[in-house]
Amino acid sequence: MNKKQKKIILIGSFSVGKTSLIRRFVENSFSDKYISTIGMKISKKEIQIKDEILMLLIWDIEGAVNKVKRVNKTYMRGASGVIIVSDISSIGIKEDLILHLEDFYSVNKQDIPAIIAFNKIDKNKDFSIDISDIFDKYPSLLASFKTSAKDSLNVENMFTLLSKEMLKS
């Protein structure tokens, strides 16, 4: 074993498309096991960044149903990167994003890189939102991507950017 491992977690509210994004990215994946009873799934994908092969262990954490039933934070611990997934057709997008970022940074170091995915962009290509205040609040927030697991839009780019950033730290 001489490959670098990195743990990425995907968090977001219920049914925003976390699992679909991972499935799109890990297509023809080597492993895709599921433990539905404990509310999480782990996938593995190896990618090459320059000369280095990186083994990504992607934790798909069951979406929080509401603000009261929050996700199990212990799954988030020790992540090297996080993608917060949002469904553009849902309401209260910003509120949800802040909630998930708060959860994540309450158990992880403040310098862990994060990316926001505005998913299901295929449903509304004209979608736009101003989240400059969130970027101001969270300096480790790298970028936001408009993604579509359905049309395979920006999925690869998003994971690659996050992986590059994780290698820097």
């Binding site: 074993m1 001489n2 670098k4 433990i35 404990i38 593995k44 262990l57 934790w59 090297s80």
Partner: protein, 596 residues
């Protein structure tokens, strides 16, 4: 007569008769066919009744008629590719088996017994055979130290030697070891027994195990029960989990684990931690940061533990037993004592950590929490503010070695308790540093410290100390830092006249007193070691007083000035014989204890 008539009739009308017969037959046929349709129509209405009637009358006959067709049909269906029948029968079979087992348990057991019984007895026989081989091996080894140990153990623990022998024979075999980073669930490294197949995707195993562990720990803690996942069993194998602060070991074994193996795993993990604590706690997924070979070397001892023991026994047999034991004893005692102590410390630390994390997980707020371990007994002390928390704590510590000495008090008691502690600390502190720090406790239970202090280091020292002691409280420091008076005014021998060159110093002191006008200044006069004490006392007073006069001249209220005098050099003069010129002086200090 009749015959003749018949013959005559045949001769005359036979042909017509035949034709007539034919016509009649045809007509009958036509009638019959019409009748048949009518018959079919009529019969079809009552065919079910006919069948029921016939079945009632002669069931066997109907069965014998139908049976060949049913069998033929079934054969054709089963030989073909059509799996309709299995689809139809599948659910029926399982439910009928269930029902049958429920109704006729004994007969089902009887039916299966010859097959299952044979299988079980074959398995047990094999297991016994293996055990016998192992026991025989041990018995043949009669002169080994092991047998003496066993005899002693048997006497001490009152367990028969045979039972001990069986226990020894029933050892577990370690197949794979995973060292996993606790927080991230990333695999640090894995090791496998040489004769064992390597597990595919060990990284996934590590992540999944961590997820399961997190889930169970999280769930258990919600259930207010003290527990941690330590073993996952499947059939005759298990995964033993041994956790430390930043890593845990998952050990896959065949057979049943026992206390010795668990102890050994715990000891091995502590060895890994002692030697590689920093690199494994800071592991970020880069295998190059880990000294894998060293760690695998330590972990691999778990694989070969048994065989090592056997080799050792063989060696020992060649030497006189008791002298060898004594030699080993003398060599190893100091070493093992230090090893034992560090291992003991590690275990104590681990136990204390787990108690602290348990208390934190259950959101029990204990003020002035202390944890002490003395000879396997852990005692926790502190104060909680409501009985519920005390009860919760009692439940958590049930069936453990922890002595729960946490008291439940109300807020006013807690306030009194804090005040007593604070009074004592600040009294000592103000005396030591000449400060005037006091405190108030506001309605939010916040401790606000106020007052003044001269030395920044002293201020930091106090802040650190109080933060440590009162870590469960909110602390606010409103402590003013006063500038230190560095300069002194020096005098000629036997003189109390102030040279003009000290005007700058006096002006600066005036300015500082104006800025901090709520504080008083203490002026102390000193002399060198020469001369009469009474004279010197008078002289030192005069020196202090002349400085006081100068400050009053500049506009300082005389009430803000306190003077004192000693017939000796200041305490910080190291060599009073050679440093007489700097001994004759006046020094300045803030008199903050008596400030208004």
């Amino acid at each position: 007569m009749n015959k003749e008539f018949e013959k005559l009739r045949e001769l005359i009308v036979q042909k017509e008769i035949d034709q007539l017969d034919d016509i009649i037959l045809r007509v009958k046929n036509i009638e019959n066919s019409q009748k048949r349709d009518i018959l079919v129509k009529s019969l079809s209405k009552i065919i079910v009744e006919i069948l029921v009637e016939n079945i009632n009358n002669d069931e066997n006959k109907i069965y014998s008629v139908v049976h060949p067709f049913v069998i033929k049909g079934l054969k054709e269906e089963l030989n073909g590719t059509n799996d309709e029948i299995s689809k139809i029968l599948g659910p029926l079979i399982s439910s009928s088996i269930k029902e049958q087992v429920h109704k006729e348990k004994d007969s089902i057991v009887d039916a299966l017994y010859p097959i299952m019984g044979n299988m079980v007895s074959k398995y047990v026989t094999n297991a016994f055979k293996n055990m016998m081989v192992e026991i025989n091996y041990k018995l043949q080894d009669t002169l080994s130290t092991e047998i003496i140990q066993r005899k002693i153990k048997s006497k001490i623990y009152k367990i028969s030697e045979a039972e001990l022998l069986i226990k020894e024979s029933n050892f577990a075999k370690v197949n794979s070891i995973f060292l996993i980073h606790k927080e991230s669930g990333m695999l640090i490294l894995d090791a496998h027994r040489e004769d064992n197949k390597k597990i595919d995707e060990p990284e996934m195993v590590a992540s999944m195990l961590s997820a399961i562990k997190s889930f169970v720990n999280d769930w258990i803690s919600n259930q207010d029960k003290m527990s941690e996942v330590s073993e996952i069993e499947y059939g005759n194998s298990s995964i033993l989990i041994e956790s430390a602060g930043s890593v845990y070991l998952a050990v896959v074994i065949d057979g049943k684990s026992d206390f010795n193996l668990q102890e050994e795993i715990s000891f091995t993990l502590s060895k890994v931690i002692l030697n590689h604590a920093i690199e494994i706690s800071e592991y970020d997924g880069d295998p190059e940061t880990i000294k894998s070979n060293d760690i695998i070397k330590i972990l691999s001892t778990l694989f070969y533990n048994k065989s090592k023991n056997k080799n050792k026994n063989k060696l020992e047999n060649k030497f006189p037993i008791f002298s060898t034991i004594l030699l080993i004893f003398f060599i190893l005692t100091p070493l093992s004592w230090s090893g034992f102590n560090s291992y003991k410390e590690y275990l104590i630390k681990k136990a204390e950590d787990s108690i602290i994390s348990l208390i934190q997980k259950n959101n029990i707020k204990i003020y002035d929490f202390k944890i002490q371990t003395d000879n396997k007994i852990i005692e926790i002390e502190g104060i909680v503010l409501n009985q519920n928390e005390k009860d919760k704590l009692n439940i958590l510590m049930l069936n453990t070695n922890v002595v729960n000495s946490v008291d439940c008090v109300n807020y006013s008691f807690l306030n009194q308790y804090i005040k007593l502690q604070l009074n004592k600390i600040l009294f000592d502190y103000n005396n030591k540093y000449g400060s005037n720090i006091s405190y108030i406790i506001n309605n939010d239970n916040k401790i606000i410290l106020k007052g003044s202090i001269i030395d920044i280091n002293a201020k930091n020292e106090l802040a650190n100390y109080l933060n440590k002691i009162f870590k469960d409280y909110k602390l606010e420091f409103n402590i003013k830092l006063l500038p230190k008076f560095k300069d002194r005014i020096y005098f000629e021998v036997s003189s109390f006249e102030i040279s003009e060159k000290y005007n700058i110093i006096l002006d600066n002191i005036y300015k500082l007193l104006k800025i901090h006008n709520s504080y008083k200044i203490r002026i102390t006069g000193y002399t060198d070691i020469q001369g009469d004490t009474l004279f010197n006392k008078n002289l030192s007073f005069k020196r202090a007083n002349s400085v006081k006069t100068e400050l009053i001249k500049r506009g300082i209220n005389k009430k803000s000035i306190i003077i004192s005098f000693v017939a000796a050099p200041p305490n910080d003069i190291l060599d009073t014989l050679t440093q007489k010129n700097i001994s004759r002086c006046v020094a300045f200090n803030w008199e903050i204890n008596s400030s208004e």
